[in-house]
Each structure stands twice: as structure tokens, then as C-alpha cells.
């Protein structure tokens, strides 16, 4: 599978400051999250991939195209929704999106048609002839999304897409992103400092801290793995119950107070544990699924060497 983004010892300096420090990674997911605290280098990474910053050392590739030598082609394949307000206030929404489509190379008629479609798609169909300057913050965010997808990019960069949105607007934005991810033939790169946004939209996460890669995780695998680790609180369990669990193929580690930690093998369902407990007349009072959520992974990644945040 061809990587969407390949970072090859990428280093970016702004003035004297090293903002991205020798990043090396190969990201293949359909939707990739860039996570990190403010100032970690998420936006700088996106800006570098778009060719706004020249790498001081190393390079990066977007769908196999080197950003140093083929920046124009890279920009032809990508859509970009910036973090800050970006628009032309005096233009009507549809005219602005049409302009952006034409700059991406769409002929006039197709650009106009796609601009209308994009506006309806993001739910702004009724206000598309109004000047962007009169839009609410949520509408402006949706307009930014419309201009990013109007030309049908292969890779979509979304920089903090839910910034400043109220809960219903945020929900709508997340739904749209999920819909684009699931139905569109494209890759999503979502940069956010909001764990929930990334967790809801992405299947791979690159966590940045101080311009370096702090962690990389495949959320899909994590979710799958989390389902296997269980902790049972039982009453009446004895060695026979543990042995029966082992017979099912579970790895077990009995603890104090009737607690049993176990790893569920493939093909064994939780229902079978209840059946076994019923046969052994053991009460299962509680089952904890180990939930090593993105939050845990994030905070673990943010921990410095001395263990203090």
C-alpha cells in the first residue's frame, strides 16, 4: 500500500527556531490525525507539505510526490482548509468557491456547478449568494470546507476544522468529515488538539510534541486490541474456574479479592465466559474492558522523561 505521507528526516526551521525536528514516519491510513498540544508543529507540518515552508533538511512525500521537487503537483492533488479565517469578505460564497475551483484548474462551467454542489453539500445552499463577510463563524468554517473539496482533491488537509464551533455545528462538521472519509475516494489529514475530533474521524494518529514525533498509533488496531483485555470481578471463583478459563484458551492472571485478569483469544466471546461462570456457579460481578483510549495514549506520549507533565 502506497503511503499517503512519508516523512524522511524532515526538518523545518523558522528563523533560528527548529519547529519540526527530523521527523521520520510513513502514514498509510485513510484518515490520519495530527495530534499535539498548541505549538507542537502540526500546522507547520501541513504548511510544509503544501510547500509554504521549505524544509531545512530531509524531505517529505505526499502520495509519492516529493514536496521539494514536485510541490505544484502536490498542491494539485490536495485540498486545504486552514485553521484561521481565510476568505474574501466582499465576495458571495458561491463566487468565492468558484474562484478557488477555477484556480485549481476547473473550467468555468464545471467550477460554477461544483461550487453550487459543494455549498449544498456543506449545508449552506440557501445562503450561497450572500457575502461571506456577513456569515457566522460556523458558516465561514463550512465555506472553508467547501472550497477545500470543490475540486475533488485526493488528499484533504483539515487544520483544526472544529475551531470556534458550537456543539451542533461541531457535530455537523464531524459528520461531514466522516462522510467524506467514508464515501469519498480520498485521504484525510486532520490536525487538531481536540482528542475527541481525532478519535471520531481518524484511524491513524501521529502525536507531535515540541516538533518531534511523540507517538504513532493505529487507532483501529488499538480498538481491536482493547476488546481482548478483560478484568473480571468475581465471587466464588476458585482454581477450577481459572483452569476452565485456561481450557477455553484464555491467558489468566488471578489477583486478590476474586479479580482475574485475562486475555481473550480469537473466536472466544464474552458470552462464553458467562456460560462458564454459570456452569461453575461463579458470579461475575463486573467486567472491565481495558480501555487504553487515545487520551491515555496522548498523555503517555506527553509525559517527559521524569514522569511529570
Amino acid at each position: 500500500m502506497q503511503p499517503v505521507i512519508e516523512l524522511d528526516n524532515l526538518e523545518v526551521r523558522l528563523g533560528e527556531r527548529t519547529v519540526l525536528n527530523k521527523l521520520t514516519a510513513s502514514l498509510t491510513g485513510r484518515s490520519i490525525g495530527l495530534l499535539g498540544p498548541n505549538g507542537a508543529g502540526k500546522s507547520t507540518l501541513i504548511n510544509t507539505l503544501l510547500g509554504f515552508h521549505a524544509p531545512a533538511a530531509g524531505t517529505a512525500r505526499v502520495i509519492g510526490l516529493d514536496i521539494r521537487t514536485r510541490a505544484r503537483q502536490v498542491r494539485g492533488l490536495t485540498g486545504y482548509m486552514p485553521e484561521n479565517d481565510s476568505f474574501i469578505a466582499s465576495m458571495s460564497g458561491v463566487r468565492f468557491v468558484r474562484l478557488m475551483a477555477e484556480l485549481s484548474g476547473l473550467p468555468q462551467e464545471q467550477a460554477l456547478e461544483r461550487a453550487h454542489e459543494a455549498f449544498f453539500y456543506v449545508g449552506l445552499g440557501e445562503v450561497r449568494y450572500r457575502q461571506i463577510g456577513t456569515y457566522s463563524l460556523g458558516m465561514k468554517q463550512m465555506t472553508k470546507l467547501a472550497q477545500a473539496i470543490v475540486h475533488g482533491p485526493k488528499v484533504l488537509f483539515l487544520d483544526e476544522p472544529t475551531n470556534g464551533l458550537d456543539p451542533p455545528a461541531r457535530k455537523r462538521m464531524i459528520q461531514l468529515i466522516q462522510e467524506i472519509r467514508d464515501h469519498g475516494d480520498l485521504h484525510l489529514i486532520l490536525s487538531s488538539h481536540l482528542l475527541r475530533d481525532v478519535e471520531e474521524c481518524c484511524d491513524q494518529v501521529l502525536i507531535l510534541k515540541d516538533g518531534q514525533i511523540a507517538a504513532f498509533c493505529n487507532l483501529e488496531e488499538e480498538r481491536r486490541a482493547n476488546r481482548k483485555f478483560l478484568e473480571l470481578e468475581t465471587r466464588g471463583a476458585n482454581g477450577t474456574f481459572t483452569a476452565a478459563l485456561a481450557k477455553l484458551g484464555c491467558q489468566t492472571a488471578p489477583g486478590a479479592g476474586g479479580r482475574i485478569k485475562l486475555v481473550l483469544p480469537d473466536g472466544v466471546e464474552i458470552r462464553q465466559l458467562y456460560e462458564l461462570a454459570a456452569q461453575q456457579q461463579v458470579q461475575i460481578r463486573r467486567i472491565h474492558c481495558k480501555r487504553d483510549s487515545l487520551e491515555d495514549i496522548f498523555f503517555k506520549a506527553m509525559e517527559p522523561a521524569n514522569g511529570r507533565l
Partner: protein
Amino acid sequence: MAVYKKTYRRYEGPLTPERQRFLVIPRYAFEEMRRSRFLNLFFLASFIWPLICALVIYLHHNLSALKLLNLDADKLIRIDAGFFLTYLGIQSMGAFFLAAFVGPGQVSPDLANNALPLYLARPFSRSEYVLGKMLVLVTLLSLMTWVPGLLLFALQGYLEGASWMAANLRIAAGLFFGAWIWILVLSLLALALSAWVKWRPAAGGLLFGVFFVAAGFGGAINGILRTRWGNLLNISHLIGSVWVSLFEEPMRRGAGAVFFRVARGEEIPIWCCWAALLGVCLICLFLLGRKIRGVEVVR
């Protein structure tokens, strides 16, 4: 056009040639400008002087009309290099006002609204952006200066005969190149100021400042230091000198064009004028290069 497809789909159709995409910017700019009544009236008014000039040329060659108006052809303005230089001076001053009105609206709104990342995140370079914006001014100013100028020259040549045309080709070249130099300097200055001053009226005012305040400052230097080199700060003097060299050298007769006077005894070497104008253009390009970026880096 039916708007019924409310799902996301990729665009699979044809794309426009990359080298032509910068033309999208002037097309949108002209559509915007068409809505300004003031601009339309100003632009139309800018053709009054070329029409008067055409009338003068016509009268020069129409004896019955002269007789009817009881005019003597010799007493009318002579149709020579001075005539065309005066035409260019008046039209160029009109072009300056137009540039001061249109120029600031080119880059400053994009910067004020942070729209540059959206332009430059596409297969569209910084130079194409500047070229597109500049083309707006170049087109408007060309329509005001050298295009009617060459039409007047052609009219005079048609009425006077091919021999006059052949003998005065220098005037045509002067009109064309002289106007282009002015257009380039003016467009670059207007764009550079528009890029650095985000408030539109201030950018327009600054363009006047660069011309008139710098000229006044140059004059003060000349007066205090008893030198001519202060004229290097006077853009109208520099342009006037270049025009005189294009139209009249080596047989200089007049004192430059109206609004672009080059007083006798105050001339500076022509190569210095060229170098100063080149310097102005390079500074403008440098200023544009600093500001026209996808993201502004605060160091």
C-alpha cells in the same frame, strides 16, 4: 444547471492549462470593477483627451473643415513628437489616478482576509498571483495610454501618408515603450503598497505620497545642497527624462511632457534615470516577495 448532487464526489473532468490559470484573477477583478459606477465613469472619461487629439489630427488634414471653422492649419497645434508627448503626459496622469484607485484593491483585501493561503495552496505560484494582479492594472493602464496613442499615430500616418509614418516611427516606439515603463513602475508600486498597507484608502494615499512627497523631498535636497541629484527621488522627473530620450534624442526640443517636466539645466544622466527606475521596480518586487506568502512567519 441542476443542483441535485449533494454527495461528495471526485472531479474527473478536464483541467485548464496551467500556464493560463493566472488569467482567472484579472477576469474576476474586472467583473468586480464593472460594478463600480465611479470607476466606469472615470475610465470612460479617460478617453476624452484621446478623442480631442484625434479631432485635432483630423482638423489638420481637413481643409474644408478648417475653412468652415475659419482656422489656419499653421496656427493649430503641430502634430509632432511634442504633441504625442503631451498626449502621453496627460493620459499618464489619468492612469496614475486610476492606479491609485484600483491598485490598492488588488492585494490588500486578500491580505486583510488572509486569503493568500487559499490561493497558494493550489497549483498556483506566488509569481502567477502577482502576474494576475498586475495584469489587471496593466490592461487598464494600457487601454488608457499606449493603445489610443498608437491609434492616434496610425490616424495621423493614414492622413499624412506613409512617408510621415516612416519618418516618425520613433514616436510610435516612444509611445509604446514610454507608456510601458510608466505602467510597469506604477503597477508594481501600487501592488507593493497594497501588499504592505492593508487599509485600502491608506494604500491609495501612500501612492500619492510616494510621488508627490518624494518629489518634494528631492526638490528640497536640490535646493539645500545645490545639486541635481535630488531628482533621483522624483519619479515623474525620471519618467519625463526617459520619455524625452525615447521621443526626442538626440534633437531635444521641449522640456518633457506635461506633469512629467524635465527642466533644462536640471537633467541627470539618462542612465541614472533608467537605473533609478529599475531600482524602484526591484524594491517593489522585493516588497511583494516578502508579503506574498502562503503563511506569514513571525520571527
